[in-house]
């Protein structure tokens, strides 16, 4: 494999691009667009995090202190929507933009101009969502799942949310089509599908899921809109419709959505763990098949979100067993990561710490998921803090921890500079401590019956809520440390070598200089 970066510049298209703000507004470069995705998602992470701080401040003590119930509902609703659609999903697309072309040896994304639009739709949607706080009646307040009849009531804020979801959906669909096409059509010669890095595989499957379910979400919110304003009866029993039908259609989108937010993190972890164990990924092909199985199964489990909404027993049994079945391919993955580490020459740099933290905590979230899948238990814990604890274990210590692992892992390649390892480790351990402080106690609160989405609670829940709030404030503050680490890395970090991680084997480390040039792989590398 000869190095190919030497001849990169000058052919085909010019290197001159607008400078200043117009560079970012008009860019068709996958690295620029990836960078914008990542900064946007971090900004949204701070907005959503601020809402979370508001929620935890109100719940610090029983009684109503800071947020009136109406505003509290808006906070929980927008916290969920912004974190899911504004922070986690765009962050993964940012990783895909940066990494997929480099990891498969492509010059750029397949549709570079559309790639720009996929990104620039996001600030529009964010403007509509965040702006809805300031319109008469305030933002949507029916929860991030916006079930009718709550969402067929409500004012202008709900409509702004509906159009924001439409635009986010368009962005996701265009981004996914771009990623699928890039992966299927632009791999370097010799890189067969079964030689692709795991991160690329997980994104291929994630993008497929996005194209499958985002249009269904668009259809759902459209029905909501016409029910609200044009007199249709989709979710209105008087007209022969059914509010429960909304839940079915929403969760047909919503459950695959859960895997959309976790599969790419499986991919990141599957890159990081082999690198720092200095061993190839254990059971590569079983990883691919497990990812595909999870994606397929995820389309047949949606009603486990609705066990208390009224469903025939046969339905409950089907969705219970189908859900528990997902634990099998997930277990394959956890086994493979562990087996990759087994007898490896392991070192524990920050990306590796976050990846191991990911495995440990994601497994806890996965197990509480299996517990929630059991119908009689779910009927007990439905809409309690047990569910909150469960999905924050998979979304925060799952998706978010993997995003941190990926950011620390690839930032040397992106910026040409190393981050501060000591501070990175502090970031990990503080996140680990405060995360568990925040969310572990919520299992107890939920089992004791504390309902979610309520600004006040009985005195018996006071101690655990105070602990949880203290943890949340600590966790939120810790993320400012991450911002500091990243900015100081970009500005004044030590120069990074081409391959700072000696166990790394993918193309961006073996074939490209550090920092990666603006245009990489104009001539594809040959993969053996």
């Amino acid at each position: 494999m000869a190095a190919v970066h030497g001849d990169a510049h000058g052919h085909g298209h010019d290197d001159h691009h607008p400078s200043g703000i117009m560079r970012w507004v008009t860019t068709t470069n996958h690295k620029d667009i990836g960078t914008m995705y990542l900064w946007f998602s971090f900004a949204m992470f701070l907005v959503g995090g601020t809402l979370a701080m508001g929620i935890r401040a109100e719940l610090y003590q029983p009684g109503i202190q800071i947020l009136e119930p109406e505003l509290f509902n808006q906070f929980t609703t927008l916290h969920g929507l912004i974190m899911v659609f504004g922070a986690i999903m765009p962050a993964f697309v940012g990783f895909a933009n940066w990494q997929v072309p480099m990891m498969i040896g492509a010059p750029d994304m397949a549709f570079a101009r559309m790639n720009n639009w996929s990104f620039w739709l996001l600030p529009v949607a964010a403007t509509l969502l965040v702006g809805s706080f300031f319109v008469p009646g305030g933002a949507a307040a029916g929860g991030w799942t916006f079930y009718p009849p709550l969402s067929t009531q409500g004012g202008l804020g709900v409509d702004l949310m509906i159009f924001a979801v439409h635009i986010l959906g368009a962005s996701s669909i265009m981004g996914s089509i771009n990623i699928i096409t890039t992966i299927l059509n632009m791999r370097a010669p010799g890189m067969t599908l079964m030689k692709m890095p795991m991160f690329v595989w997980t994104w291929l499957i994630t993008a497929y899921l996005l194209v499958l379910v985002m249009p269904v979400l668009a259809g759902t919110v459209t029905m909501l809109l016409t029910d609200r304003h044009f007199g249709t009866s989709f979710f209105n029993a008087a007209g022969g419709g059914d509010p429960v039908m909304f839940q079915h259609i929403f969760w047909f989108f919503g459950h695959p959505e859960v895997y959309i937010m976790i599969l790419p993190s499986f991919g990141i972890v599957s890159e990081v763990i082999p690198t720092f164990s200095r061993k190839p990924l254990f059971g590569y092909s079983s990883m691919v098949y497990a990812t595909a199985s999870i994606a397929i199964l995820s389309c047949f489990v949606w009603a486990h979100h609705m066990f208390t909404a009224g469903m025939p027993t046969v339905g409950q049994l089907f969705f219970m067993y189908a859900t528990m079945l997902i634990a099998v391919p997930t277990g394959v993955k956890v086994f493979n990561w562990t087996a990759t580490m087994w007898r490896g020459s392991m070192t524990f740099e920050t990306p590796m710490l976050f990846s191991i933290g990911f495995i440990f905590l994601f497994v806890i979230g996965g197990f509480s998921g299996v517990i929630c899948a059991i119908v009689p238990i779910d009927i007990q814990v439905q809409d309690t803090y047990y569910v909150i604890a469960h999905f924050h274990y998979v979304l925060v210590s799952g998706s978010l921890f993997a995003l941190f692992a990926g950011a620390y892992y690839w930032i040397p390649k992106w910026t040409g500079r190393m981050y501060n390892e000591t501070l990175g480790k502090w970031h990990f351990w503080l996140s680990m401590f405060f995360f568990n402080l925040t969310f572990f106690v919520q299992h107890f609160l939920g089992l004791a019956g504390m309902p979610r989405r309520i600004p006040d609670y009985a005195l018996q829940f006071a101690d655990f809520n105070m602990i949880s709030s203290i943890g949340a404030f600590g966790f939120g503050t810790t993320q400012l440390l991450f911002l500091y680490i990243m900015i100081s890395c970009i500005r004044s970090g030590e120069k990074a070598p081409q391959k700072p991680w000696d166990g790394a084997t993918t193309l961006e480390w073996t074939h490209l200089p550090t920092p990666a040039p603006y245009h990489s792989f104009e001539k594809p590398p040959i993969v053996n």
Binding site: G12, N116, I167, M186, S233, A237
Partner: protein
């Protein structure tokens, strides 16, 4: 995978995406305000729509020029094929949501509402029979459902014929018979436009003569939303065909290199297939 000579074309920086985003910002906020009866909304909606039209002219025009100047190699062509296929798949899923709603209401929620054993069926609407077509137990305006064998059957014939003329145009293009290409394309556009006109007439008929409205409960909701979104897609498809006709008249496309044509043809066949689903499940059954 690239075995091509020449580089994969990566377009230069472009302002069209941000123009499109601006359009959607105006349209999104404008539509939300309009629906809440705030005057400002109409203006915003209009401005947004105008910007969107400008963006589409500019962006698609650029793509057509790039294509005609030979910038797209065979690998780019494959990308377009993948891209269009996945886009059509996403459209299929969009229609699936509405077909799903139709099946759910007909087979589950309406029978449940009519059942004596359910709370609603026993206490509120005990006289409700629940037979399709229905506006639901609480909507008390009578309506006549749309029959299948009049205009809808004629529409089915129109669209199926248009699929044939579209294919004839494609064959003509591949054999480099430019007159045949233009003639059959124009015929396809005409059939598409006629379909839209018939559909518009059907809606007027429904509102004026059958008292069938968007507000006619489950039947009205599913009837108008499914046929409405389909009609919207036919309109888009007809405009796309018209653009392809003008491009053909301007000498665009060669027998080997004409994905612009094929993409539109694929879309047209997709619209056709959706109609068959509609004809069976909305009109016939």
């Amino acid at each position: 995978m690239s075995q091509e000579s020449g580089h994969y074309y990566v377009p230069a920086p472009s302002t069209y995406p941000i123009i499109g985003s601006t359009a959607l910002l105006f349209m999104g906020s404008g539509a939300a305000l309009t629906m809440n009866k705030i005057e400002l909304g109409y203006g915003l909606l209009g401005i947004g729509f105008a910007i969107l039209i400008y963006m589409m002219f500019g962006w698609f025009g650029t793509v057509a020029r790039e294509s005609e100047s030979g910038k797209y190699n065979a690998q780019v062509d494959v990308s377009f094929r993948w891209g269009m296929s996945w886009f059509i798949f996403s459209e299929v899923m969009f229609f699936c949501a509405f077909f799903g709603a139709l099946f759910y209401m007909r087979n589950l929620s309406i029978p449940w509402l009519a059942e004596e054993s359910t709370v609603l069926g026993a206490n509120f609407w005990s006289s409700y029979a629940g037979a399709w077509p229905t506006a639901g137990p609480g909507v008390h305006e009578e309506f006549t459902p749309m029959g299948a064998w009049g205009l809808p059957a004629f529409n089915t014939m129109l669209l199926l014929t248009s699929g044939v003329t579209c294919t004839l145009a494609h064959w003509a293009l591949k054999e480099n018979r430019r007159d045949g290409l233009k003639k059959w394309l124009l015929a396809t556009v005409f059939l598409g436009a006629l379909f839209i006109a018939c559909q518009a007439y059907e809606y007027v008929h429904a509102y004026n003569d059958l008292n069938l409205k968007l507000t006619s409960g489950a039947y009205g909701s599913t009837f108008f939303m499914l046929t409405g979104f389909h009609g919207f897609h036919v309109t888009i498809g007809t405009i796309m065909l018209l653009v392809i006709y003008f491009r053909s008249a301007a000498g665009h496309f060669t027998p080997e290199h004409h994905f612009g044509f094929e993409g539109v043809a694929w879309y047209w066949h997709f619209v056709d297939v959706v109609w068959l689903g509609l004809f069976i499940f909305v009109y016939l059954m």
